[in-house]
């Protein structure tokens, strides 16, 4: 039988004009973005409220609270130190949390993914589309602390323009991390373990509120494995001046983290969604 040939011959005609179906397609990602956009139109107020105000409040509280005790950390004024550090916290919160909960709810409770995967959308495209959306949102939200710090006297600098890019790559990694955990946890309550066991230490030991080199030696070394630390360092350098060699290293670490998380998130989602 010539089914294989017939299948090949048919490809061009079957797909809508100008859209050959390849393994990885922008059109497939756009489908997931259309879904996200429809949801965002409905929920932008609540999601933006939390995403923008939470880091702002934390920053003001720490800024005024500790700021009255500590005026300088190394070469930075304390408000500048946490204003840049909080970008990392915002990046983590706005990517890891929705990265955990959205996929879990959509897969387990709403069966949205089942519906979507019956269309010409593959699991790796679904995963990529959703985390790119999250990371894009995160890269905008996470600028809030810098804006607040600027209101309190942080000088604008051209390097600040790359903050969204730094956050984007960081958020990709953490959104994918969240998505991977959503395929591992036995129930939605188990996210508590992930939040307390992973997210909280990640956010505390990232050089946001205090420099990690004040910690005991082994913690300091372990902290180098924390992607958020690299994000925070990069953001500070973007604002106060790049250190090219170190910054390439930080950026490479963020990229490597995102790539590794992509591989395990896709594998986990495939295991859960394709029977």
């Amino acid at each position: 039988m010539s089914t294989a040939q017939a299948g090949t011959a048919r490809t061009g005609a079957a797909a809508p004009a100008g859209m050959p179906l390849r393994r990885f397609e922008l059109a497939a990602l756009r489908g997931t973005w259309r879904h996200e956009f429809a949801l965002f139109k409905r929920f932008w107020r609540t999601s933006s409220f939390a995403a923008l105000l939470e880091p702002t409040f934390m920053m003001l509280a720490f800024g005024y609270g500790f700021g009255s005790l500590v005026s300088m950390i190394g070469e930075y004024r304390y408000l500048e130190f946490i204003g840049t550090g909080m970008v990392g916290t915002a990046a983590l919160f706005t990517s890891a949390f929705p990265g955990m909960f959205n996929p879990y709810i959509r897969r387990v409770f709403q069966h949205t993914y089942d519906a979507m995967l019956a269309t010409p959308l593959d699991v790796h495209e679904l995963v990529t589309g959703e985390v790119v959306w999250l990371a894009g949102k995160s890269s905008i939200y996470s600028c809030a602390p810098v804006v607040v710090a600027m209101a309190f006297g942080l000088d604008p600098s051209p390097g600040m323009l790359v903050i969204p890019l730094i956050v984007f790559v960081t958020a990709l990694g953490f959104a994918l991390f969240g998505m991977w955990t959503s395929t591992v946890v036995p129930s939605i309550n188990s996210f508590d373990y992930v939040i307390t066991g992973v997210v909280t230490p990640t956010f505390l030991v990232a050089g946001t509120f205090f420099p990690v080199d004040t910690l005991p030696g082994w913690v300091h070394i372990a902290a180098q494995a924390n992607p958020l630390l690299h994000c925070v360092e990069l953001v500070r350098h973007a604002v106060f001046g790049f250190r090219p060699l170190a910054d390439l290293g930080h950026f490479a670490a963020l990229l490597a983290f995102a790539a590794l998380m992509w591989v395990i998130a896709v594998r986990g989602m495939r295991r859960r969604l394709i029977g």
């Binding site: 089914t3 299948g7 005609a13 079957a14 179906l21 949801l39």
Partner: protein, 324 residues
Amino acid sequence: MDSVRTAAEPVVRRSYGGPGATGEPAIALRGVVKRFGDLTAVDGLDLEVPAGICLGLLGPNGAGKSTTMRILTAQAVADAGVVEVLGYPVPRRSKHARAEMGVVPQQDNLDEELTARENLEVFAHLYRVPRERRRAAVDDALALAHLTERQLTRVRDLSGGMRRRLLIARGLVHKPRLVLLDEPTVGLDPQVRSELWGLIDGLRAGGTTVLMSTHYIEEAERLADDCALMSRGSIVARGAPAALVAEHAGERVMEHYGPPHRLAEIEGLARAAGLPTRRTGPSVSILRAERMPPSLADELGPDGVSRAANLEDVFVVLTGEKVE
């Protein structure tokens, strides 16, 4: 209903020289096996669905109907066997098959937070309906489901029947060549159900291939050109409804009512005469009653009710289970 479909041109370009033209089957499954741990849900399934027909897939709960449908969209991967959908080998080229296929799942998986229209818009994107035709495609699908008036209602505020109609419309928004309907009319009132029958019939009349699983025998008898009876993961009978009835249940059925011991006695007598029987609640049905020897008819007495054999008789005889 069908006027909406026939009036508009296909949204996704049909592939000429495809199955319809060559007589190649829309679906071909050969020796398909699917296991979940120790459980074999699909067990050496052979199933061919010619292009352009409506095939009714009947079978008791757990027979493997939904699993088979998931194999066709590559959402389940067969452990053995060959799967071809619209000429594409699955799962290897399932993306192509999915682009030209619409799926209406057994379980409602609409996005409850979004409106009816938004649900369709999202899927028009996912199905790659070209931009310039998207709006019309969504409008058509809404009209098809009689939801034009309710298009801005959130799904969670729609009635069960409306949701079901929307689910069907979602699977048709790109005007697919092949539609998989997994129990499409469950939970619908008789009026909506018969409307949907009109719709499904219209699809088939328009050349769309339909694979429809159902527990409603009447639905299969009315809509299906061909029926496949599935039991324990494989097909146990296949043919046009009338032919299946003639082959497995004969022409007439005699139903006898009575106390349990009398029913048992009747069963014994009928079996002795070589006639198949089945229990139907408080009665026993003797199939192939047209072949009943006069002596047996005398023995059973005049209080039996004669009726035409139907697909349900076939179903019960072949699967040993009851249907709704």
